[in-house]
């Protein structure tokens, strides 16, 4: 690596390139797809991004400690079905929200405890709990569409509605506020800094008296709760509960985190990056739909683009430089 490359690399690693990526995709969309940048289209994109974004916040916590949460889609499905079913049975909304968040956090905490207690790869643990949760939801609903969304939730997630003076759907505002709080949490609190430490160097973290079990459990619990919340919000969008609603979010939530530039090896990254990652992913998908590609071709292009975008800023150092 020559010396003249260094400042560029440093600037790139600080994050503005993620913003440039979002803007780049967006400008490309404006140029290629008619009506891509109309206000209503942006509103709709933001709403779609918010469902992904809420789940991606949770996924980021887990990725920061060097884990990966494959139970996100199952918990989105569970949150979606539970919310629709309970609300459809006439249960008051605050109770429904508490139950959904509580169950999500509980499943996530189990992931975290099992992962840290037995020192297991989180990938397999969350895969197993996803199977249990997904199966339980199937049993509960007999694999059918159930329940209905309360009226307020439909408005909450409608692209056409505003939040007070802000012309954005309440769900978008909720997403951004949650992301901001999460970012403050990881940057400004002791536990937040411990997340980075644990992800960067497990051994050093142990020597600095970071509770591996505690931090891991909190991160997975947050991921579980946020995935379930995303499912609940999706109920407003879909109008009913269906257990498969979370399926596309398995790789999307990971892709959003990765496109944002958070390292899957842990210790490097942040929540705001995942917000930008979610926006990029949704803008890109909208762009590909606008080009009237079939969903299969969209998927193929998306896969290639994820690799290409990550190659811009997610590359490891050369082996020779690490010695």
């Amino acid at each position: 690596m020559s010396v003249s490359e260094l400042p560029v690399k440093q600037v790139l690693s600080k994050g503005p390139i993620q913003l440039l990526t979002v803007v780049g995709v967006f400008v490309l969309g404006m140029l290629i797809v008619p009506d891509f940048a109309t206000f209503s289209s942006i509103q709709a994109m933001l709403v779609i991004a918010s469902f992904l974004g809420v789940a991606a916040i949770g996924q980021t916590f887990v990725v920061l400690i060097g884990g990966i949460d494959l139970s996100v889609p199952a918990l989105i499905g569970a949150g979606n079905v539970i919310a629709a079913r309970l609300a459809g049975n006439g249960m008051p909304s605050p109770v429904v929200i508490l139950i959904v968040l509580g169950l999500g956090a509980l499943c996530g905490a189990i992931n975290g405890i099992v992962t840290s207690l037995w020192k297991l790869p989180s990938l397999v643990v969350t895969l197993a709990t996803a199977s249990v949760v997904g199966g339980a939801v199937l049993l509960w609903t007999n694999a059918t569409l159930t329940g209905s969304a309360p009226q307020w939730l439909t408005t909450f997630t409608s692209a056409a509605s505003g939040t007070g003076p802000i012309p954005l759907a309440p769900v978008v505002v909720l997403w951004l506020v949650l992301a901001l709080l999460a970012q403050l949490f990881i940057l400004r609190t002791k536990s937040g800094r411990q997340i980075y430490l644990l992800g960067a160097n497990r051994e050093a973290a142990r020597l600095m008296l970071v509770s591996e079990r505690g931090i891991t459990t909190v991160c997975f619990a947050l991921s579980g709760a946020l995935a379930a919340l995303s499912g609940l919000l999706l109920t407003g969008f879909t109008g009913a509960g269906l257990f498969t609603v979370g399926d596309p979010y398995l790789f999307q939530s990971i892709a959003a985190v990765v496109i944002g530039g958070t390292s899957l090896l842990g210790g490097r990254g942040g929540i705001v990056r995942s917000v930008l990652g979610s926006l990029t992913l949704v803008a890109l998908t909208t762009l590909l739909i606008g080009l009237s590609l079939t969903s299969a071709a969209q998927q193929a292009v998306l896969g290639a683009v994820i690799v290409a975008v990550t190659a811009l800023y997610g590359r490891d150092r050369a082996l020779g430089d690490r010695i």
Partner: protein, 326 residues
């Protein structure tokens, strides 16, 4: 006898061997017909793709850097779809042309992933996640709907010799194991393990780490192509979406087999037995007439239990040398 048992207890394969043994006994007592000549080919045809895909995941996991090849499942589907949807219509479906083309397809796909990991210096999960999406998309573009019509040799492979006692699909696994043993004899597997254990140390010892990574992913691609042929033997048609579900099962099989997902250690027997035990859990559940809705719950619970037990034994193993080391 006791010493032998104690030795087995300390092997990383102990749990999965015990698990397979128990599951086999329970399975056979529940459905004795499972191993009867009439059923054996069907049973093994079902098992072969799962075993091969677990083998396909093994080298990339061994090679370290958190290397999990998520794209093996869709690669199965692409191989299946290429065979039925492209090679057969263009008259290339004969065994002599189709098999080499499919194997090269697998190897090249693996090489591309490996090159992106090694020379692109990208995280394996990102590369293979991208590969997962690209390959799933390609399979659907080539063949939007499932269609029938496999060449004769694929039907031939689904049969068996000696009146049902030796199903021919096992040949695919034999080929894969032979390739593995060849690589092991040539020292390539040792280099993959060295790279996975500590790529910097391997680099300074003169191992060409980039080439080794390419080799690991290409080997995985080759095994995935064999698994794709096995899948075609199983379903006797082309289906663009069935391959994807094998990805996560493969990772689970590798972990269950006692190979650390961090790389650097592990065996090939482990993932094979891991795949076998996952398969036996499923046949057990369907053999016991468990409602299909319950199967998923029990499957997850058993998987969780198995890896927890596996890990407590593995940690007892690794605790030993750690005590002695400074």
């Amino acid at each position: 006898m006791i010493a032998k048992l104690a030795g087995l207890r300390r092997s990383p394969l102990a749990v999965v061997v015990t698990l397979v043994a128990i599951l086999l006994v329970v399975n056979i007592s529940l459905t004795p017909s499972m191993l009867a000549p009439a059923q054996l080919p069907n049973t093994l045809n079902l098992l072969v793709p799962s075993v091969l895909v677990a083998m396909a995941s093994t080298p990339s996991v061994m090679s370290g850097r958190g290397g999990i090849d998520l794209s093996v499942g869709p690669l199965l589907g692409v191989v299946n779809v290429f065979l039925v949807g492209l090679l057969v219509p263009y008259g290339l479906g004969g065994a002599g042309t189709a098999i080499p083309i499919l194997l090269v397809l697998g190897i090249v796909t693996g090489l591309v992933s490996g090159a992106l990991v090694a020379f692109g210096r990208l995280q394996p999960v990102v590369v293979t996640l991208g590969g997962y999406l690209v390959l799933s998309g390609v399979a659907l573009v080539v063949m939007p709907q499932p269609v029938g019509g496999v060449p004769d040799w694929v039907s031939y492979l689904s049969g068996s010799w000696f009146g049902g006692y030796l199903p021919r699909s096992v040949l695919l696994v034999v080929v894969a194991v032979a390739v593995w043993l060849f690589l092991k004899r040539r020292g390539a597997i040792g280099l993959i393990l060295a790279t996975g254990s500590d790529d910097r140390a391997a680099h300074t010892s003169g191992v060409r780490v980039s080439r080794v990574l390419c080799l690991a992913y290409a080997t995985g691609g080759l095994f995935a192509a064999l698994a794709g042929i096995g899948l075609s033997v199983l379903i006797q048609s082309g289906d663009p979406s069935i391959g994807k579900q094998y990805t996560l099962a493969a990772v689970a099989a590798v972990a269950l087999g006692g190979n650390p997902l961090g790389g650097g250690r592990g065996t090939l027997v482990g993932p094979i037995l891991g795949a076998l035990s996952l398969f036996l859990i499923q046949t057990l559940l369907s053999g016991a007439h468990v409602s299909s809705l319950w199967i998923q719950v029990v499957y997850g619970a058993v998987l969780l239990f198995a890896i927890c037990t596996n890990s407590s034994i593995a940690s007892r193993l690794t605790a030993r040398p750690a005590l002695g080391s400074p």
